[in-house]
Symmetry: C5
Subunit: 91 residues, 5 copies
């Protein structure tokens, strides 16, 4: 997974039927985090919002995170780090 | 997912049988978006076209997005952002 | 998917039993194409050859493209762009 | 897989129900290792801790590594290299 | 898939039960090969060793390559290029 900050939202008027009602958040990976990841759009399933620090799962795990294997999503927010002090780094 | 702009089309005369009838669009990821993604070819399933800003799902989610688990695709357009103002970024 | 040019072949004498009879082609992604992809080895299933411009699907889609979910492959050629003019780019 | 060092931990108070009880460790890939991987968050299932050198599986293999196909995870620690001398490199 | 050279081995004393008996080899991708891939750890299933030039499948294909869908692996050696002249490149 990667840790990132929610920096935006995106709304698609026309979309796949299985995405109706989904909330799309734009996540900016934390420094050094992810495969030199750029920003990604993730479906939110735990009530995250702008500025939240979140944990994002990508790939087929995203459909598991959405509780909907028919949702064509490849990134899903699966946790919220509500206190930055709960990210402990030794360097 | 990633947000990108449709910048082209590609037609394959000889192709896998399960791709017959599929429309292939070339998508250029939005700045800072995606895993330093370069351009990708995505199957369109929501009626997108040149210059549209679209939401693309990759990996096994793409087959879900095409409603055809037998289609050998790894990227699928799953939404159209018809109004750029529906992409809200805090920075 | 990515578009690329077939720039080589590779033969493995000793290989997984489910790959016996498979043809391996080395594909160089088109400029700006793919996740900063380097070259990849793809199984050919549509009759491609050296210098052909091809469409490659990666990930689990590759096994679908080979019509063999038991083939340990993660990239498969699923289309041939036999006329470069069938790649239309607006920039 | 990649080899990396556990350099941190992260705790999410609000998270997907299937992640309750999971331990999240931040892994920094060994030099030259991984797809130019940045750091990743992996679920620990073998008792790893800070400073341990670990083997991480990513993608759908991570759910297999957690013995829980319903856990929305895309990276899982599947081994601990308890003696650095057990990493032998010819260069 | 990618072509690479086996440049090392790694042994994990503590590991996931489904990896007991697995042989882990460190593979350095051939120049220009792979998604700017760094080195990866792959399970060997075809009898490869140090200095061998090998074909590696990644993602869910790796579990197929190991003949064990319960093995938490995301990279598997599926072929050995025993004669470098069997890699033919036109440039």
């Amino acid at each position: 997974m990667i840790i990132g900050k929610v920096v935006g939202t995106v709304i698609c008027t026309r979309k796949n039927n299985n995405l109706v009602g989904s909330k799309f958040l734009i996540v900016d990976p934390m420094e050094k985090m992810g495969l030199n990841a750029g920003r990604i759009v993730a479906v939110d399933n735990v009530g995250a919002g702008i500025n939240d620090i979140v944990l994002v799962a990508t790939g087929s795990a995203a459909r598991v995170g959405c509780d909907d294997m028919n949702a064509p999503v490849d990134a899903c927010i699966v946790g919220i780090v509500d206190d930055p002090q709960k990210i402990v780094l030794i360097d």
